[in-house]
């Protein structure tokens, strides 16, 4: 069993008691809710005549179903019903709601951090598997199911079993156009989509420490794609700098100073014990692309797609089916794979630095004639900040659609969907069959700059081959 890791320390601080099931009851520091997974939980509460125990530790937003183009109410069909239900639930319970008309709405895993709701040493839960994102701040953050949402609403706590801790150290420096997204795709490829089951991942090492907070979020975000329910990075100066400038502390520097010793205290000790340790060489990485239908089916952009017979036996079948679905051949690279749609968005990669990097590549170029390309900022605030820098113009001039904030084409729950067998270069986190709204649709996961390159060339392209234009220097700030 691990000892003296951040996971152990935060767990202990939040443990209420051990339950008869052998699980621990944990206090929940922040409960984020959205419109898809919470209505049933509120319904269960009403059936039992229970109230929300800690409304002040709960925060809501709407992301999955909101249209990103025409945002006038009422929304179409069931989306309106879900939105209305959420509005009623948060009003009745007195829960803060970052609704679209506050200017604070966005994907739940973007707005929590940007408002400073997510803090180091907190337990954060949400009925959404990508809650692992919040681990980037040294929080213990995990996705929960609807019955657990009911538990958290009713009691402010959740029943959980303690996991093992695997430290993943990413060494070295990331090369040109290699981003956090590539690191996590490599980790999942190495350890498997179920390699993290039973584990919490601690990401460490120079390459992780060198990342900005947004990059750390991209990595923690996809922990769940590797089977780990939570992933985290120990908080450090980079984390604190971000926090200092959020709503939570901007006007309250005293509170910041007061909490900092706690944040420092929950960092993993230098001599902490881990249940497992893995080292990934960051120097070696190149931009990654997926060739299949799980996030574990990735390769470097210049690397050949594997032959299923070379894979471990239990992976062969899935690989064959995936290659069939995607229409790719082993031995070839993904470079040149034709793309119909480019989607720059999602809670993995729709924050300001993601948009900036992509914009620098896009500036002075044009989206390929056969591609429909869209940028969907992760939140209304990201959108506003990007517009302040003129990124919207860079994208629009190149032929990208510039949309309102939401989950958009990450999943087929709103009007943004793939049609027929369209292939999509996507900065999101899941390439499952049917994920983007069409069951014959094909998703190729990659980092935001690679999405931009694919949009311009109309095919999967090594972004390193597209140097920034002179326009980029003048138009887009670094």
């Amino acid at each position: 069993m691990s000892e003296r890791t951040l996971y152990d320390k935060v767990w202990d601080r939040h443990k209420v008691t051990e339950l008869p099931t052998g699980q621990d009851q944990l206090f929940v520091g922040l409960h984020l809710i959205h419109e898809v997974t919470s209505p049933q939980a509120f319904g269960m509460l009403r059936e039992r005549d229970l109230e929300v125990a800690y409304p002040e530790r709960t925060h809501a937003t709407v992301d999955h179903i909101v249209p990103t183009e025409d945002r006038d109410r009422p929304y179409e069909g069931a989306a309106e019903e879900m939105m209305a239900e959420l509005e009623e639930n948060v009003r009745d319970a007195g829960i803060d709601f970052s609704s679209p008309d506050t200017g604070n709405q966005g994907i739940v895993h973007v707005i929590g951090p940007e408002q400073g709701l997510t803090q180091p040493g907190m337990t954060v839960v949400c009925g959404d598997s990508h809650t692992s994102t919040h681990g980037a701040f040294g929080a213990l953050a995990f996705g929960i199911g609807t019955s657990q949402i009911r538990d958290v609403l009713a009691t402010g706590t959740v029943a959980m079993e303690k996991k093992d801790v695997r430290q993943i150290r990413v060494t070295g420096d990331l090369g040109d156009c290699v981003e956090a997204k590539d690191v996590i795709l490599q980790i999942i490829r190495k350890l498997g989509t179920d390699g993290g089951v039973g584990y919490v991942y601690e990401y460490a090492g120079d390459a992780i420490e060198d990342l900005d907070v947004e990059g750390r979020m991209s990595i923690c975000n996809m922990s769940i794609e590797g089977g780990a329910r939570a992933g985290y990075v120990n908080p450090d100066e980079t984390t604190y700098e971000w926090l200092e400038d959020t709503d939570a502390f901007r006007d309250d520097p005293d509170k910041f100073e007061e909490l900092k010793p706690y944040w420092e205290s929950i960092r993993s000790d230098p001599d902490a014990d881990y249940d497992d340790e893995v080292v990934i060489d960051g120097d070696d990485l190149e931009p990654m692309v997926t060739w299949g239908t799980t996030p574990g089916q990735g390769v470097g952009v210049t690397e050949p797609i594997p032959d299923p017979t070379d894979l471990p036996e239990d992976k062969r079948d899935t690989a064959r089916r995936a290659q069939d679905h995607m229409g790719v051949e082993p031995g070839e690279t993904m470079e040149g794979y034709p793309i119909d749609v480019a989607f720059l968005g999602s809670c993995t990669n729709a924050r300001l630095p993601d948009l900036r990097r992509a914009a620098r590549l896009v500036a002075g170029r044009e989206v390929h004639d056969d591609v429909r390309a869209m940028v969907v900022p992760g939140s209304q605030r990201v959108k506003a900040a990007a517009e302040e820098e003129g990124l919207d113009e860079v994208f629009e001039e190149a032929g990208f659609d510039w949309r309102g904030a939401g989950c958009s084409m990450c999943l087929g729950m709103n009007p943004d969907q793939l049609e027929g067998d369209e292939a999509c270069a996507s900065s999101s986190n899941r390439n499952f069959v049917g994920r983007q709204g069409s069951k014959d649709g094909k998703t190729v996961l990659m980092n935001p700059r690679m999405v931009a390159a694919a949009a311009i060339e109309g095919e999967v392209t090594d972004a390193r081959q597209l140097p920034e234009t002179e326009v980029a220097d003048s138009e887009v700030e670094a």
Binding site: M44, E85, T146, V197, G434, K439
Partner: protein
């Protein structure tokens, strides 16, 4: 969920006929495609279980065990590795449950999925790949045969009554077994009974500001800004 009461059942064993769904890494998007989640209750989700595997674009049925009449009354689902991976949607086990599934036996399960199943009282039982393979073949050949899942003893038994029965040495996660067998899988009541200790834990945390958090009572004031 309308007939839910505070009385929690125990789930010691589940038996019924089986249904095999083959393949590793079957994710929750396959179990219930996202477009069917635009609902505010879980009622009626059963008909959409595995929808896109079962029907073509034009709603023509495809080859899938969930379409086969012989499996229509099955309650024990037999699957392979990493079943239920991907999205945390509880809609997935809800859809299976509403279709008629009471237990899932497989090589391995994604954690959130298993947790969501537990919350509905559905055991997720694991066994070796070879044993699963044999069981899947058996179920295909004997759709009417009873499969019996003993949660407490961690066994899966099958075989026609007069024939020799086969018993698989299966595994049920410790916490899950306890919860099902002792009837504490509905955690809300359990957690609620510790409200005072919860408030104490909250007070001990540096980031929790004292105030209503101490009492743990709900504020029902309407937040104007929540509009």
């Amino acid at each position: 969920m309308t007939d839910e009461t505070e009385e929690i059942e125990t789930v010691e064993h589940v038996s019924g006929t089986g249904i095999p769904v083959r393949g590793n890494d079957i994710d929750t998007d396959q179990i219930i495609p996202a477009r069917f989640m635009k609902v505010v209750t879980f009622d009626g989700l059963g008909q959409f279980a595995f929808h896109d595997q079962r029907f073509t674009e034009d709603d023509e049925p495809k080859d899938h065990p969930f379409n086969e009449e012989q499996f229509r009354d099955a309650s024990v689902l037999v699957v392979n590795a990493n079943f239920g991976c991907g999205s945390s949607r509880e809609h997935a086990p809800q859809a299976l449950k509403r279709w008629g599934i009471d237990a899932v036996v497989g090589e391995s399960f994604a954690e959130i999925f298993a947790g969501n199943c537990l919350a509905l009282g559905i055991p997720t039982v694991t066994a070796d790949p070879e044993q699963i393979e044999t069981l899947q073949r058996y179920v295909e050949e004997n759709p009417d045969a009873e499969i019996s899942v003993d949660v407490e003893e961690e066994t899966v038994t099958y075989g026609a009554p007069d024939d020799e029965t086969t018993e698989i040495d299966a595994t049920v996660d410790d916490a899950q077994r306890k919860a099902l067998v002792e009837g504490v899988w509905d955690t809300t009541a359990l957690l609620k009974s510790n409200a005072e200790t919860v408030a104490e834990t909250a007070r001990s945390l540096p980031y929790v500001e004292t105030g209503s958090a101490e009492t743990g009572t709900a504020e029902t004031e309407t937040g104007e800004e929540a509009e």
